[in-house]
Symmetry: C2
Subunit: 244 residues, 2 copies
Amino acid sequence: MSSNNLPRLEVCLSPALLHLFDTKDAVVVIIDVFRATSTIAAALDNGATSIIPVASVQECIELGQQIENSITAGERNGQIAEGLEHGNSPSEYPKEFISGKTLVLTTTNGTRLLHMVEDAAEIVTGSFLNLSAVSDYLAGCNKNVLLACASWKDRFNLEDTLFAGAVVSNVADKFDINCDSTIAAQQLFQSIDIEHPIEFLRNGSHYKRLSVYGLESDMEYCTMIDKHNVLPILRDGKLVANSH
Amino acid sequence: MSSNNLPRLEVCLSPALLHLFDTKDAVVVIIDVFRATSTIAAALDNGATSIIPVASVQECIELGQQIENSITAGERNGQIAEGLEHGNSPSEYPKEFISGKTLVLTTTNGTRLLHMVEDAAEIVTGSFLNLSAVSDYLAGCNKNVLLACASWKDRFNLEDTLFAGAVVSNVADKFDINCDSTIAAQQLFQSIDIEHPIEFLRNGSHYKRLSVYGLESDMEYCTMIDKHNVLPILRDGKLVANSH
């Protein structure tokens, strides 16, 4: 806690900078807007029992074989990875398909970061699809918070940072902010058309990269604010919808 | 070079991310607005023969003893370091004092980064004090460019990123930009009162940290655009004013 008795709010722009932050007893929000944490919000909101984030395709396949009523999913280079059943698109998981099932998910950047934070008090995941759920939870948590951007291969990432800025804009008055990346993310978000973040994000390298695979509508989906307003929270290695 | 035949323009937000960028044969701009690269611009513009950036206080003292007509300078924690003669403030180096002398300078973040980039085609230093000189040089260089923020102990830094954004705004049409930190820095700069960057920078952690030492006027000085419009370029380990 800082001298003004408010907890800290910080933004980590890349997993390569994570060592600079103290995550002990903090709430860490994992952010991978394109598309892991968007898919997680959609699947949980549509009734998935839980989502198990794993680092490798092999681990994904093995867990899928062990767990009854599970779906394996994950992409590499924008394609469903060999040996898995589904991709990393939030629109692949409508209620009639995912309800009551366990989703075993591996992604390139998001799940990796999730496994890097071990001493946190709580780990939740955030995306535009569940912006309010994340913001409301943080505003009431009374703990230090780190917004952790998954980024792209450790590179600073426009959409993850923009979402971090959206959260900061919502909860700034509940926290002590003495972190330049937090200030910059907030300024960035407030400088764009906040009703339509996709307009700004079309400039980004990730948008261009995924467009090559025809994923434009997928990315538009990922920037719909509060479409799947659930709070995924990590419990025993599984992301479940927070019941509070 | 990219497919559109324009060279790349990228921004590295922290020395901890430098390994993600290819600096070979590129022009690298070292940015440490508060205050190393501001002091370098001021001293060179005021007639210093050259500036020798060194990593340690000890090296600074030894070189000062070897080089005739030299000044040793550097701070640690906002104070002149023990054994050195002067600090890291651009206003300490007026013409009548520094003209014709060699400045041996050690700083916490800026000089360290300068020594991390060894394969670059050219290394120059940038600050608001020489924004146009840097921009004009880059616009005409026809090489890949990396704007490298010194940051604060590897943490993302508001003033260095803002200056990078000012440069991007000036030269964007001469480059291929497919780097999210470049886009974000430009957006950040264009979202503030660009005539008075200090107004926005007062929110930053570095401003607050240096204010404790009474350095507010120093930081205002560092944000005066083009007051010392010289281009410091590295030649044989020394920063000299570019003659072209």
